[in-house]
Subunit: 207 residues, 3 copies
């Protein structure tokens, strides 16, 4: 099980670092800028999670995650021009990331003794934080402000995992179900524009 | 006294969560977006305070604050259209919040052994942080950039409480005086446009 | 050596606080706004560093840094109009800051037992964080998004210091070399527009 957690964590770093490097390419940064954005986005959510749970920050304890972020920055810097349309790729990398971190944030909160609600909120916050950093720093519209389902997917991933775990489902299955639920919902958001009913002010009302 | 601290803390969460949910309504988010913005704004300042003071994060230790944020998100999602003008309501909720968190941030810093200056700065930072998060994520102009008194009100609330406490005034009275001073000043800012003299570049100078 | 670290730390606070107060002057804030921006920018990077390394936050342990930030806010509020062009001054203050914090962040990470890579990344992150806070809150374009070398300078300062230290060079010399390398590179960026080759999308490609 410990191995499975590590694998999920590394996958989350990879996909978020990729999304960070892709934003750096949209902003035409230099190679070090790619490294900074890949690192901030790749480890941002997990860093917030570790600081809030008062655990040692994972990439300080083991620099593997940073090597991965820098490697991805290098790779994207030299290959991104081969990708016809980079923004969709960024969205899909981010989608994998929020589903993975939604589950991981919830699981690590549970392991720290948090109850189900705190675990779900921790999953939602840490899954969306790296991308928020990325978008706010680079002046992109944060994905949480777009119409399609976004925070909902992180919450669904976290909630599915927490509910299954509480019901006694083994970790590997529970985490996989949570990941699948969050990712499929987000995929419907990206591909089909699926959205939940948003708040609608009544016409004629000021605000 | 412990009860009184808890009551102030919960009041602060309530009013900041309300302001977060109101911003979510201005951005026409879905229900989960309301939950995320209410939670980030409601617990943001207190979370920063706890991390800086190396205390356990309050909403992880006791999830009550999160239930409150989610309840407020639900309430605002279904009732905000009844409010004729939501932006002023947001400003007033935020005003209550900065006065409350100005006092609370200062008090908890004092309890951790910080001197008066650090306590006042901690009050000012934690009172303005949740609202900054809310405004930066949602692309609203941060209130700290507007002309009317804002950070000043948090600083006044914190300073009043710290000075009275140091002078031996009992906590309930001292905290109430600090809250009243900060809130009244901010009320004058919102209602009358009260502002301190801002920095004015000399005409004809470049910058 | 301990004294030398303290001196560098205070110098870093001074120059970043100056850059924060100068941004406050560009936004025509009031005196308390100057104090808030000087404090956030002055202690922001060091605060992130201390939270990540799980050290006591330096300005809570010793409020000297806050007194300095507030003193600089006062000074800049009353004298900035004498400066013909404030934005270049802000850039130069920031340049000193990133070179100083690049070295300090790396050194404190090393003292906490981190390896060279983590030390360099910590230097780069903490050197750029205060300025990012300043620019994001005030709606300025973050310097990391501009074409001239920026994050690279922090990384160079940190890497130079880490490499020299590992090679056994005494701290004072190693830190000075790191500072000089980072600052000179940034100076070339500000004065001559020096930039690394940025990512260039191929013409005719969408993104």
């Amino acid at each position: 099980m410990h191995t499975f957690i590590s694998v999920l964590d590394i996958l989350g770093v990879i996909v978020f670092a990729t999304s960070g490097a892709l934003v750096a390419s949209r902003k035409e940064m230099d190679l070090i800028g790619f490294g900074l954005m890949a690192s901030l986005t790749g480890v941002g959510g997990g860093t917030l999670r570790d600081v809030l749970l008062d655990r040692p920050v994972f990439w300080i304890a083991d620099p593997k995650a940073i090597w991965i972020c820098l490697g991805i920055a290098l790779l994207v810097f030299f290959t991104a021009h081969k990708v016809q349309r980079r923004y969709p790729l960024l969205l899909w990398a981010d989608a994998l990331g929020i589903a993975l971190y939604g589950v991981m944030g919830a699981e690590l909160a549970r392991l720290s003794g948090a109850g189900p609600l705190v675990a779900i909120v921790m999953g939602m916050m840490t899954a969306t934080f790296g991308g928020l950093l990325r978008d706010v720093i680079c002046g992109e519209t944060p994905l949480v402000l777009r119409k399609e389902v976004y925070a909902t997917c992180a919450a669904l991933a976290a909630a599915t995992h927490v509910i299954c775990s509480t019901a006694g489902v083994p970790f590997e299955i529970s985490a996989s179900l949570g990941f699948a639920a969050g990712f499929i919902l987000r995929a419907l958001g990206i591909a089909k524009g699926l959205s939940l009913p948003g708040y609608k002010p009544r016409p004629g009302r000021e605000y």
